[in-house]
């Protein structure tokens, strides 16, 4: 299971990094969302994986999952929504102001249309 989680985090990170290196707004937004997933799962997994163990206090239970990382991630998810919303709005504003959704101004790379 650890291998699955780790590879999933790695794949999502790679995809996120690739997307934020694009030069139009929308892929960057999606890339940041991907990075949020990756980071959230990363923090969550740093509490170690637990199957069928509650984060709920119960004297009868034999073990718990780590509630601390869960609490951290919970707020992180909500905050990353707020962050995404702000960037979306900025991207939208930039596009409406200038009619282009490019995010940088250097002109050294030609459009290859591929």
């Amino acid at each position: 299971m650890e291998l699955l989680v780790a590879s999933a985090i790695g794949t999502m990170t790679a995809c996120g990094i690739y997307l934020i290196l694009r030069r139009t707004t929308f892929p960057v937004i999606v890339g940041l969302a991907m990075l949020s997933y990756a980071v959230n799962v990363f923090i969550f997994a740093s509490g170690r994986l637990a199957l069928a163990m509650p984060p709920i206090y119960d004297p009868a239970t034999k073990g718990y999952t780590d509630p601390l990382t869960q609490a951290l991630v919970l707020t992180a998810i909500v905050i990353s929504f707020g962050m995404t919303a702000v960037i979306v709005m900025m991207a939208l504003g930039a596009f409406l102001e200038h009619g282009s959704d490019r995010i940088d101004t250097d002109d050294d790379a030609p459009e290859d249309g591929a």
């Binding site: 650890e2 290196l21 997933y37 799962v41 709920i56 206090y57 290859d112």
Partner: protein, 950 residues
């Protein structure tokens, strides 16, 4: 405590003017003045103790591990300087209120001024050298803001930059010197360092420390050869010049020398360096001042000269000289601040401060003339004014000092300095106010209103009073201050007539010579103009240019404005650092047993990884990308369920819905495909960066998960105390609302701010401008659905609404003990509301709901804060929760916890923020011509439908 409060009050006062500028300029000035007055009163309360010779201390631990503590102490020296800073500060606040023009942003001015005042008070009250250094740098920064206050003037900006460079660099040298002193003394507390004279002077590091500290003091106090920045700083508004460059900031260097006097003075090195620097500065400053035609430049160089005089006195290293130095600090502050303010008045009324264009103002501005004459005669050292007393005493000390093994060299040079001082003081009076009235002033000069002349007049009165009655006025103050400087009880006796002593003849020579020089001004000035002399600004610019050029090149290479480049550089740097750390240490595989894999998670994993790879491949089709993001988010939520995190799963899935709706709304106005702007080589490069990063992150978490915790995790504490301490069994929720409630409070505040930012951005876009034009002329680039509000969807969402709201309430209520809570409930309710918008149309729904989302956010944050503050009334720290069990007869026993109130705040903020964000984007759609439906359904049963030809 009161000392820390004196230092803190100006900083608190700095907040008010910036915030209150809409309440008017008077309110602004009053706010700044109130803070200053309050600090003065607090200082006054400590006066009796200080005059009894006590040292008042306040000690607050800040970072004891670093030896950095917020320790303050108040002795005579600190008292004098605090009094000067606050007292003159108060006069400046009054003066500036009437000096600044209507168009100047006054709130900003007072904020900067109070920041500066706080930093200065901090310097003179600090008992900890590290704290002192913090305040020291703060004065450089705040004075930078003040000098460059008139941002539209290039001289202002250049002068500010020069002042910051010189004093900032000096500050850096001083940090090194202070650290050496601290190391020698074994403590960073001044009160300890000051007792270590023998150890410090015997140390090999004494000379380096001395030189470094003196560089700091000399740069700040504009001593030769660092004096050049001060005249350029005169581009500042006159209140700033009067405050910073006559009374306070430039005296910080003197303060420091006086403060360190007990441990640094008394050696040959101190005497030679300090007194020589002071002497040279005094003569050069006075000489240049005489030839300056700009009123403020004349005063600036005269300030340089007087600072040199005081430095020289401190350099003598004798107690008598220290007494004179202190006395002259007081006198200089009074007459020079008055002169600066008067120069400002002349500039303000005559619209020029060029001496060549002035003259004959005596009859036109009689009041200003009187003030300037009193102050300038004091500066020249004419009896019975206070400047006479200290200059006489200075000459007396000079006569007794053997310098470069010559008994007469120093008195002679000091007399020359005094002679120039007399000459420029007389010139100031004669060439500005005396002579015939002219008819070509840029504006008709007249005396200003009370607000402008009150402050300099008050100082002029002090000049006379101290001059006539020195002992009753300042005798005790000088005594207690000088005692603090020297560390021993000082003997102070100030009187006018010393008999026929050498100092008297030197003084007479200076006055006579000054008169002669004034008479010879024209030929002398011609000579001066012809003589070659170094232009400090050109040298400074020449020195700075290569540095500026090089840093510009580096900056432009790294920060070329392309976001992708920053991301790439940052990512590569992090990966490289991680790789360096990894290869530099031994690696052992983790020993923790792996969790078994069942078939279902394997399917989920395949979906997630497959969708991610597909996203990588097809991200340019934006709609498809959104669908893929949805799949990934869903799989992450499912993963959370499987891995025992029900709260996270609930949050993730509801956030997922909100995010996808948000992105869809935005995508409506963005291109549906991403243009391909990158070359294949660049894509390959990016793919490599991304791949390596992904591999690294994956490997890192894999290695982490296969190891046990290196330290016992604090999660155990939370698990053990959730029920007993927090009153809830859902530990995740208890952590959020109780253990880490403060974090959560911060987070909902951030969320609220984010929503408000979105709202503000929308407002900006909808104002007249290119964005608005583009929206009003919007042509949809995708075909619209024929039935935008389908009957089925409308009916279903309406039926679901009460159920969804009930689910929301249920999730909220159970949250403390079972998975759920404010965050999740907020998201659920928000989605239930958003569904109404989607189904029935934005305008139709908006017209039927009365909820103000701003108010919702505000209420949420305020409720959470109130809940936290409530704990104070129970005598507990902020956000301590309380709970109890209640039994109402028909119901079972249930729990009531204050944490639920806090959670309610979270809930309201989340609902408000999500809704405000989505509603803002919907407003853009309306502006783009989205039709507003009158009826909820597009096609209503029973209503005849008019079919249009496509």
């Amino acid at each position: 405590m009161s000392l820390a409060l004196i230092a803190a009050l100006p900083f608190l006062g700095a907040l008010l003017p910036g915030l209150m500028i809409r309440a008017g300029k008077n309110a602004c000035a009053l706010a700044a003045a109130s803070a200053t007055t309050l600090a003065l009163i607090l200082l006054g309360l400590n006066a009796p103790a200080v005059f009894r010779g006590e040292v008042i201390q306040t000690r607050i631990e800040w970072l004891p591990q670093l030896g950095l503590n917020a320790n303050f102490f108040l002795d005579g020296l600190g008292f004098l300087f605090t009094g000067l800073i606050l007292g003159i500060g108060l006069l400046i606040i009054l003066y500036a209120r009437f000096y600044l023009a209507k168009s100047d942003p006054m709130g900003q001015f007072y904020t900067y001024l109070m920041l500066f005042q706080g930093a200065m008070v901090g310097i003179v009250l600090s008992d900890n050298v590290l704290l002192l250094l913090v305040f020291w740098e703060l004065t450089s920064l705040s004075s930078f803001l003040l000098i460059g206050y008139w941002k539209h003037l290039p001289e202002g900006r250049q002068g500010a930059r020069m002042a910051l460079t010189v004093t900032g660099a000096g500050g850096l040298a001083m940090i090194a010197g202070m650290l050496i002193l601290g190391q020698i003394a074994g403590s960073y507390d001044l009160s300890v360092i000051l007792t270590q004279k023998e150890a410090i002077q015997a140390s090999d590091w004494y000379l380096p420390a001395l030189i470094l500290i003196l560089i700091g003091a000399f740069t700040k106090s504009a001593q030769f050869p660092f004096h050049f920045w001060l005249p350029h700083a005169m581009a500042a508004p006159t209140p700033v010049s009067a405050y910073l460059h006559s009374a306070t900031m430039v005296k910080a260097g003197l303060f420091l020398m006086a403060r360190m006097w007990p441990v640094l003075a008394g050696t040959e090195a101190w005497f030679l360096i300090v007194s020589t620097t002071g002497l040279i500065t005094m003569i050069i400053g006075a000489k240049i001042a005489f030839f300056k035609d700009d009123l403020k430049a004349l005063l600036a160089f005269s300030t340089v000269s007087h600072l040199g005089l005081i430095t020289m006195l401190l350099g003598f290293g004798t107690e008598e000289a220290a007494v004179v130095a202190i006395f002259h600090i007081i006198n200089h502050a009074t007459f020079k601040a008055a002169l600066f303010m008067s120069a400002g008045i002349v500039d303000h009324e005559a619209h020029t401060r060029d001496i060549r264009r002035l003259g004959g103002l005596r009859t036109l501005m009689p009041l200003t003339f009187t003030i300037v004459t009193v102050a300038a005669l004091s500066m020249a050292g004419i009896p019975p004014l206070n400047g006479f007393l200290s200059k006489e005493m200075m000459l007396e000390e000079a006569v007794h000092t053997v310098w470069w093994s010559s008994p007469w060299l120093l008195p002679a040079l000091a007399t020359i300095g005094a002679l120039f001082s007399v000459a420029y003081s007389f010139r100031l009076i004669a060439h500005v106010f005396l002579g015939p009235v002219r008819d070509d002033y840029p504006a008709k000069p007249h005396d200003p209103g009370f607000g402008l002349w009150a402050a300099p007049a008050f100082l002029a009165v002090l000049v006379v009073l101290i001059g006539v009655l020195p002992m009753p006025m300042v005798g005790d103050l000088v005594k207690v201050t000088a005692s603090a400087v020297t560390g021993e009880a000082a003997y102070v006796k100030i009187y006018h007539w010393h008999g026929f002593v050498p100092a008297l003849f030197l003084s007479l020579t200076a006055v006579g010579g000054g008169f002669v020089m004034l008479g010879l001004y024209r030929p002398l000035a011609r000579l001066w103009d012809r003589a070659p002399r170094p232009e400090a600004k050109a040298i400074f610019d020449g020195l700075m240019e290569p540095f500026a050029e090089r840093s510009r090149r580096v900056t432009e290479a790294l920060h070329d404005g392309a976001l992708t480049r920053y991301f790439a550089i940052a990512t590569v740097t992090i990966v490289a650092a991680a790789a360096f750390a990894f290869w530099g240490a031994p690696y052992a595989p983790g020993l923790r047993a792996m969790t078994p894999v069942a078939a279902v998670p394997l399917i989920g994993w395949t979906l997630l990884v497959g969708a991610t790879i597909a996203l990588f491949l097809y991200h340019r089709n934006r709609l498809l990308a959104l669908v893929l993001v949805g799949i990934i988010g869903l799989m992450v939520s499912v993963g959370f369920v499987y891995l025992s995190a029900p709260d996270l799963a609930l949050t993730q899935i509801s956030v997922e819905v909100a995010t996808v709706i948000l992105l869809l709304l935005a995508l409506n106005f963005l291109p549906k495909r991403s243009a391909n702007l990158s070359t294949p080589a660049r894509r390959t490069r990016d793919a490599v960066i991304a791949g390596v990063t992904g591999l690294g992150v994956g490997a890192l978490i894999y290695a982490l998960m296969l190891r046990d915790f290196a330290f016992p995790t604090i999660a155990d504490y939370h698990l053990a105390n959730a029920k007993s301490g927090g009153g809830g069994t859902n530990v995740v929720n208890v952590i959020l609302v109780d253990f880490r409630g403060y974090d959560t409070f911060g987070e909902i505040t951030v969320l609220g701010i984010a929503a408000l930012v979105i709202f503000a951005l929308t407002e900006a876009l909808l104002r007249a401008g290119p964005a608005n034009d583009r929206l009003t002329g919007w042509i949809p680039d995708a075909r619209r659905a024929g039935d935008r509000h389908p009957l089925m969807l409308v009916v279903a969402t309406r039926m679901i609404l009460p159920i969804a709201l009930m689910v929301g309430v249920y999730i909220f209520l159970r949250g403390h003990n079972q998975p759920g809570g404010g965050f999740i409930a907020g998201l659920v309710v928000a989605i239930a509301l958003v569904m109404q918008y989607m189904a029935s149309g934005f305008a139709w729904t908006q017209a039927r709901q009365k909820i103000d989302y701003h108010a919702l956010i505000a209420a949420g944050v305020l409720i959470a804060a109130a809940c936290g503050i409530g704990a104070w009334f129970n005598g507990m720290p902020f956000l301590t929760s309380a709970f109890g069990y209640v039994h109402l007869p028909p119901l079972e026993e249930f729990e009531l916890a204050t944490a639920a109130i806090f959670d309610l705040g979270v809930f309201l903020t989340v609902v408000g923020a999500v809704m405000l964000a989505l509603a803002s984007i919907s407003r853009i759609a309306i502006r783009a011509g989205e039709t507003v439906n009158v009826r909820p359904y597009e096609i209503e049963p029973g209503r005849p439908v008019k079919i249009e030809e496509a």
